[in-house]
Amino acid sequence: MSGMTSGMEGTLKAGKADFSVVQKGVSDLSFSKISENRTGEIETLKDVRKATGVLLGYFSVGNNPFFLVWGVEEEDLTTVGIDIVNGSSFSQEDELIIGEAASKELNKKVGDKLILSDKEFNITGVFETSVFLQDKGVALSLKKLQEIQKQEGYVMMIYVELEEGANIAEVCQQIEEKYPDLITIKSASELGKVDKGLELMDAATWAVSFLAIIIGGIGVTNTMMMSVLERTREIGVLRAIGWKRRRILSIILGESILLCLFGILFGALGGMLGANLLTLHPALGGLLEPIYTWEVFLRALITALLVGLVGGLYPTYRATKLSPIEALKYE
């Protein structure tokens, strides 16, 4: 999930932009539609150095149904963080530049042709950005993309770059007051303002995690319960030869926690493998970039320990309550 959020944040705060402006009230970023004139208007505001309108589109290219296409004015490429590393920028409407990752994936280089929405484009350069999502796409002239998407005169969002020392919050407030139909996005935490999809996905992820924890907890309880039942006689022997309840308790709980620690080890490895396998899928590869932070693993570790502890409580209680004489009779 953090990989997805990070990719979105990269798109919303590309290049030198301090924040971005999108249409208010849309359920998904791709539905945002802003009149191109607003770009010029925002640029005249105090403390604003530059405002850059861009249009994004998704096209089916090769195996990828979500191939990202940027529509941006040629002179604004560096503002949105696109650096050409090979060849040159596009100057004609039938030219485009391709992201490094997309170039490798599609095996296209400078001089090759690429078909987008039944139109043929010449590739004039290869670019690189710091955002994985963008590197897997292409960029072409804003006018051309507007024409293809039948969005003449409109952009999807406006990147805003401020003068040095300007107060971001103040400028954002000024824009939102002046244009009630627009909203500003400064950080990933504000993504929910424009992308309900991401919020929904976040909620779904939590729900799935919660279910997994409950199922895991029941699994641990069941496994440990079976283990205690199977070893009832052994527990009886241990109690008969003088082992204290406390020692039995620490063994059963310890085993339960150990079980969860093994679970987290294999779960984490399996999860990483699964996430990486998902990125190999052509449809998802362009949208997903797994990010592994130590917080994720720490959270998983703490959850596993808690599940082990809580899941092991009842079997442990049963084991320590066994009378040695009853346990010894157990068949």
Binding site: G242, W243, R247, I325
Partner: protein, 221 residues
């Protein structure tokens, strides 16, 4: 001679008093004595053994072991760990541990170091004639050998009293004889042994034989 086990009017009932498993037993066992308690199934001999070994609590009456009145005793686990060595009909060894590991189990409660535990366990296994089977898993041993490991385990904390509940019940007569001779050896070293059995030949090795029927001790010879 000192009395090491003394029961006075000992009663243990089950099913709300309808079954009197032990019904007013007065028993004195001298220090260093080897006694056998005989009787048919359900005569109450195992229940009596469990009451002496603090695995069970009497309905009434009292048990005094090594001058300790068990009814006043708070820490029964510690008492069992230090004073009593149990040998059951089934060896009850932990299948995941080696013979040495099994013998070490009772020593955990007395806080021996790892090294000390292993050394003691090895000595005990040698004493019961299994010096060459230290690293064997219980499944690789014969029935008699397993019971000998169980006896070594009972001796782990050097208890004064060994309580054995049908220790030869699952063994052939040759292995049974070996086990009872082992008990005789331990008795010669000064340990008090209380053995429950229904095998007269096995019981004949004891100094004193008691018979139980319907929860009462009938006679001794």
């Amino acid at each position: 001679m000192d009395v090491i086990i003394k029961t006075t009017n000992l009663i243990r009932t089950f099913e709300e008093g309808r079954v009197r498993a032990v019904n007013g037993v007065n028993l004195n066992v001298q220090k260093g004595e080897f006694i056998a308690i005989m009787g048919s199934s359900g005569s109450g001999k195992s229940t009596l053994l469990n009451l002496i070994g603090t695995l069970d609590k009497p309905t009434s009456g009292e048990v005094i072991v090594d001058n300790i009145n068990l009814s006043t005793l708070k820490n029964l686990d510690e008492f069992r760990a230090k004073k009593i060595g149990f040998v059951f009909q089934l060896h009850n060894l932990l299948p995941v541990l080696t013979t040495c590991g099994n013998v070490e189990i009772p020593m955990f409660e007395l806080g021996f170091s790892n090294k000390e535990r292993t050394r003691r366990a090895e000595n005990l296994l040698q004493e019961v004639g299994l010096g060459k089977r230290l690293d064997f898993m219980p499944t690789k041993l014969s029935g008699g050998e397993r019971q000998r490991v169980a006896i070594a385990r009972a001796l782990a904390n050097n208890p004064k009293i060994i309580l054995a509940d049908e220790p030869t019940g699952n063994l052939d007569s040759k292995s049974g004889d070996e086990i009872v001779h082992l008990f005789q050896e331990l008795n010669k070293q000064g340990r008090t042994i209380v053995m429950v059995t229904h095998d007269e030949e096995i019981a004949s090795h004891a100094n004193t034989i008691y018979h139980m029927r319907d929860g009462k001790i009938l006679r001794s010879n």
